[in-house]
Amino acid sequence: MDKFTNVSGVAAPMPLVNIDTDMIIPKQFLKTIKRSGLGVNLFDEMRYNADGSEIADFVLNQPAYRNAEIIVAGENFGCGSSREHAPWALKDFGVSVVISESFADIFYNNCFKNGILPIMLPKEAVETLMDDATKGENARISVDLENQTVSATDGTEFAFEVDAFKKHCLLNGLDDIGLTYQKIDAIDAFEKAQAEKTPWL
């Protein structure tokens, strides 16, 4: 996994609540056996007409947001299906930060495995950043993971919480499996004890 680097860029505003993973990447694009190439189909049904032409007023089709690296979204972002294709599509498009009041659990976890930082902030902070985001290229939102802050264009800073272990892995681009292999003795021991105690498992 690539290391997460600080981002300072244009943020796309998506105030809709409950944006689900079916919206982020509809199922017809789950038929790939690869992780890459899903960016063109990010938000496919909101972004394109049935004939493939772009829906002009969808945020990511507007000139200011075509290269957005941040999304500021309504609450409960990423609910629904567990498909990791959702963070893959975001990442492939170029988004590495999503800011919202709240995220669905599985999506939230999936982000960290793919170099995306989901940031949870209180309502007022999200509203300020959402306002900022609507200004398009006239606004820049900056995210500093090391110091756990998000800054609006006018310099207002918001601190955010992130799990220390997840932060460590993101900053260093660490592979979970490699880390877990370091604890293989504990797994072996657990397995042995379990086989004695509850052999039907």
Binding site: K31, E84, I106, D176, I187
Partner: protein, 472 residues
């Protein structure tokens, strides 16, 4: 005496293989279920890193999401090329890594969450994961079961553990008994209607109370299935005699002395008196009406005799979401739900594709015909459910009524195979998600119970099962 524990606490504690200082745990996984859509990249990752599957004997694979459900599906030409590539990739990966496998040609093939319990892979007190959010289904057995992403699938394949932090405990109690016409599906939809789709975020829910105890195992699976729609990591129901009877004799359940030992252990799987819940929700069973969704989020639930709401009934971000949902669904605020005309009926999915669901729907359809022009299909949850329904004469009832009688799979629950809605086509579905485009681009989904779906097929409208008298 140690402090009183919840059922979740007990299963969690019994599966922590390692705990770091900050509370991050390696949770040991007893069963790993795998399907064709979320696993190819995980197996590919193992292969590229030269890793193996740590416990193939605890790993069960079955293709379900994209398989055709037509009778001629043995012919590979019935599959689109990309679907075929995924199914073939699973065939190959299952063989290469030596995991248990039920291919499309096997009568035991079906939706992964129906096959697991049916084959006795799911047992009380286990940890169960799958790269699919509806893994919550298995919680009906008192197993800690949740959906994971593809990177986690790879992690479990390689290490048989998951990196986890403990969730909070929520109790959802359904008191008293259900009224006639009200089903497990209505319970679970009403809980989501009450908590919202984010209400369960960060929690594992334990469902309890008389109405839950009175449900069959099938009904309990329906309730836990949709825990994820309320945002919860998992849903749980304490095992009881019904659970043990269901498991007894299943192909992969323990036998003989091992069964006796297991049973002893399973009888300790309940929440201790005085255990702490971070949140408690109580709903009276007799207050639950047969329900239906009107919008594009599973929290958009109302009793069938209600009116379509107006955006002004809501606040905050939900106002815009409701405006968008009503436009998408082609509904007017104030319209009676029972006036909404239906084009298609879908009975199936891991929510309501079990034998009891088919019995309930067939009970409504006996001697009835579906409305002229209606498209109606039954997709049994597994090949074995299908065979049993044929043996019990249910298949004939569906066919006589005008339903298509399909092969097992996910089908129109997510429309990855050719079973899809056309734009603006309106469907009463027994599945679990009414998201925009879920059943086909532009398709409109109303989630209902199997009996309500059957009644809608006959009348051609959303129908209150309590006043349904049939067309005869």
């Amino acid at each position: 005496m140690s402090a009183p524990k919840t059922l979740y606490d007990k299963i969690w504690d019994a599966h922590v293989a390692d705990e770091a200082e900050d509370g991050t745990c390696l949770l040991y996984i007893d069963r790993h279920l795998v399907h064709e859509v979320t696993s190819p990249q995980a197996f590919e990752g193992l292969r590229m890193a030269g890793r193996t599957v740590r416990a193939p004997e605890k790993t069960i694979a079955v293709p379900d999401h994209n398989v055709p459900t037509t009778l001629d599906r043995a012919d590979p030409a019935t599959m689109t090329e990309d679907s075929r590539i995924q199914v073939e990739a699973l065939d190959k990966n299952a063989k290469e890594f030596g995991v248990h496998y039920y291919p499309v040609s096997d009568v035991r093939q079906g939706i992964v969450h129906i096959v697991g319990p049916e084959q006795g892979w799911t047992l009380p007190g286990m940890t169960v994961v799958c790269g699919d959010s509806h893994t919550a289904t298995h919680g009906a057995f008192g197993a800690l079961a949740h959906g994971i992403g593809t990177s986690e699938v790879e992690h479990v394949l390689a290490t048989q553990t998951l990196i986890q932090k403990k969730s909070k405990n929520m109790k959802v109690e359904i008191t008293g008994s259900l009224r006639p016409g009200v089903t497990a599906k209505d319970i679970t939809m009403n809980v989501i209607g009450k908590t919202g789709t984010a209400g369960g975020t960060g929690f594992v829910i334990e469902y309890c109370g008389q109405a839950i105890e009175e449900l069959s195992m099938e009904g309990r699976m329906t309730v836990c299935n949709m825990a994820i729609e309320g945002g919860a990591r998992a849903g749980l129901i304490a095992p009881d005699q019904k659970t043990f009877d269901y498991c007894n004799g299943r192909p992969n359940a323990p036998k003989g002395a091992e069964w006796d030992a297991a049973l002893e252990n399973w009888k300790t799987l309940f929440t201790d008196e005085g255990a702490h819940f971070d949140e408690v929700i109580t709903i009276k069973g007799e207050d639950i009406a047969p329900s239906v969704t009107w919008g594009t989020s599973p929290e958009d639930v109302l009793p069938i005799d209600a009116l379509v709401p107006s955006p002004s009934d809501f606040t905050g971000g939900k106002v815009a979401a409701v405006e968008r949902a009503l436009a998408y669904m082609g509904l007017e605020a104030g319209q009676k739900l029972t006036d909404v005309k239906i084009d298609t009926v879908f009975i199936g999915s891991c929510t309501n594709g079990r034998i009891e669901d088919l019995r309930a729907a067939a009970g409504v359809l006996k001697g009835q015909k579906i409305k002229d022009g209606m498209r109606a299909m039954v997709v049994p949850g597994s090949g074995l459910v299908r065979a049993q329904a044929e043996e019990e004469g249910l298949a004939q009832i569906f066919k006589d009524a005008g339903f298509e009688w399909r092969m097992a799979g996910c089908s129109m629950c997510l429309a990855m195979n050719p079973d899809q809605l056309k734009p603006e086509e309106r469907c009463a579905a027994t599945s679990n998600r009414n998201f925009e485009g879920r059943q086909g681009r532009g398709g409109r989904t109303h989630l209902v119970s199997p009996v309500m779906a059957a009644a809608a097929a006959v009348t051609g409208k959303l129908t209150d099962i309590r006043s349904f008298e049939g067309a005869a």
